[in-house]
Symmetry: C2
Subunit: 349 residues, 2 copies
């Protein structure tokens, strides 16, 4: 007897890298970034509904593998993501990721997708969302220190969401800056390559640091940072990896995603446990102040949090409706009689 | 310009439910169970090498979704698994699962596979492995209380690994017992359906309880359990779900996988925190005694642990070599220049 076909419930939509790229181009990169920014903001507004836990990290000499679960009570998500700074030397990605959505009521997955690209998009969208609440009014000039895999996504999100017009670029490796210039040509942004971090931050409204080295680094020193700027620090995102001199933190008002995670992984791992921070969701939902003066230095000490991935996953799920940018994967065994798993196996012989 | 093809590293072997069934039949179900038992035992022997953490559970009214990560320093694994007892009423599986292996040195996944079937196989293999160390010598008679999705796997593993000849069956739902009788016909086992748990355990060398209800249940009471038996309790595997009366525990020597997890999830959640247990890996590796007398009641209070999934995943990875029982999934974005993720996206337009 041939194996009976699995039921429709047994097939999970899977978005490959190729299909994710198709989906992004179908919608338009800047539109995706704007819509994702809104999706992330909507979930920050209902932050207290979510199950929150620091990510589950498996550290090794070469890097880290993390699982980042969350749930809003109806839908569960998790992301698998690694961070291996030395991968680049072997021609591999520093960060790769994939993720899943499942129904809380049944535990059945409803979406499996690549998240290397999606993480790059959601990280930029989260930065833009934070900047919408924290950056100086009418910000037009962005500095990008670190011109790696995240750089163009940051530039386009800040352009599409905030109206950034000029991007000043610096990387210790000039080839990274050249790559970024090449990729952003034709986007309408005024691009200014710089030969030092100092030169790059001149006149910046927003400074984004997105370097990849796993070390205590000082990308910015205190004397480089003038009043009124918004710093978006996204490269310092695991224990032993920071980008800013601690004196900058002493002059800044610091906003974070989830303090128990950020105090271990963010820039503030350099500070005492009682260093004051504001949770960004409280700003977004109107419970706390964001920027309160022109002279204030605001710092979004971003390490990435599971709720941002949740937002990105549910956005992709919505956008997939009516498209064929997915395959169906037979990943859930679904016998006719749920107790008859063995019979299903036996009949497949 | 057409999108460049992803490199070989970007493709992850994926084993669907259909391919897992093919692989199992290709090897032979009983051979799989014997080999898996050895694979699990080999990893129990090197237990202290593994990163161990209690699973990360997201509990809801209807069930639980769990992530179970571990690593031996060279290879990382995790399993996604749900437990939703009410699913059965909707015609859905109570437990579904999938899992992944990745290289620790790069964080790159090397295998993605269904694990609903694989979990059923590894759970039975783990039971057989424990029984090999704890059950009375020359055990021939197995009682299965709970004749659901796990029942046949338990029966065949105990037959293939220990030489069990007779299986006595009881379930509160006679249809479950009928299903199990039907599926095990022709396996060479002597099958004895019973109308009560009391009748089922008569003369048993090994009693396996594998019921699914999420509640404090008393499948076995103290007066039912005679001297010398080995109890394999696998249904009590989350907070609020137990199968044995606590008086049985007071007369038994209890063996567990990972105490921090079992004290929350296992039968011993009924006991004081200092209730004595022996870690099974210490028995397997010769550091602690298993069964020490004919009169002793041994209890394997099994809740399932990540290392067992690791064993199952690496076993599947080995067995896939030279077969075509997998698809290749484009789940990892892998641009030629690892910093040029955006360029890869742009060129796919």
């Amino acid at each position: 007897m041939p194996a009976p076909l699995p039921s429709e419930r047994a097939f999970i939509p899977f978005v490959s890298v190729e299909n994710m790229m198709r989906l992004v181009h179908h919608v338009g990169i800047e539109t995706v970034l704007v819509e994702l920014t809104d999706a992330v903001e909507a979930d920050f507004r209902r932050w207290d509904l979510f199950d929150k836990t620091p990510r589950v990290a498996s550290h090794s000499h070469d890097g880290v593998i993390e699982l980042m679960p969350t749930s809003d009570g109806a839908v569960y998500s998790f992301k698998y993501v690694n961070g291996h700074p030395k991968n680049m030397a072997q021609g591999l990605q520093t960060v790769t990721a994939f993720g899943l959505l499942a129904e809380v009521s049944t535990g059945y997955p409803v979406l499996l997708t690549e998240m290397t690209l999606l993480t790059a998009l959601r990280t930029a969208a989260t930065s833009a969302m934070a900047a919408r609440h924290l950056a100086p009014a009418n910000s037009r000039r962005l500095t990008l220190i670190g011109n790696g895999a995240q750089a163009e996504f940051q530039a386009l999100a800040m352009k599409a969401v905030l109206g950034i017009e000029e991007v000043r670029l610096y990387d210790i490796d000039p080839r990274a800056t050249e790559k970024t210039l090449r990729n952003l040509a034709g986007t309408g942004l005024r691009l200014v390559p710089c030969t030092s971090a100092q030169a790059a931050i001149e006149g910046a409204d927003i400074i984004t640091t997105c370097t990849a080295d796993k070390q205590y680094a000082t990308i910015l020193t205190d004397n480089m940072v003038g009043a009124g700027v918004h710093i978006n620090a996204i490269g310092g995102d695991c224990p032993g990896k920071t980008e800013l001199h601690r004196d900058i933190l002493l002059r800044s008002d610091t906003f974070v995603e989830y303090p128990p995670q950020t105090r271990i992984e963010g820039e503030i791992q350099q500070m005492d446990p009682d260093y004051p921070v504001t949770e960004l969701w409280q700003v977004v939902s109107g419970r706390a102040k964001g920027r309160s003066s022109d002279r204030q230095i605001t710092l979004f000490d971003s390490v990435g949090f599971a709720i941002e991935d949740f937002s990105a996953l549910r956005y992709v799920r919505e956008k997939l409706q009516g498209t064929d940018y997915f395959q169906k994967l037979d990943i859930i065994a679904d016998p006719d009689d749920p107790r008859d798993l063995f019979g299903m196996l036996q009949r497949a012989a």
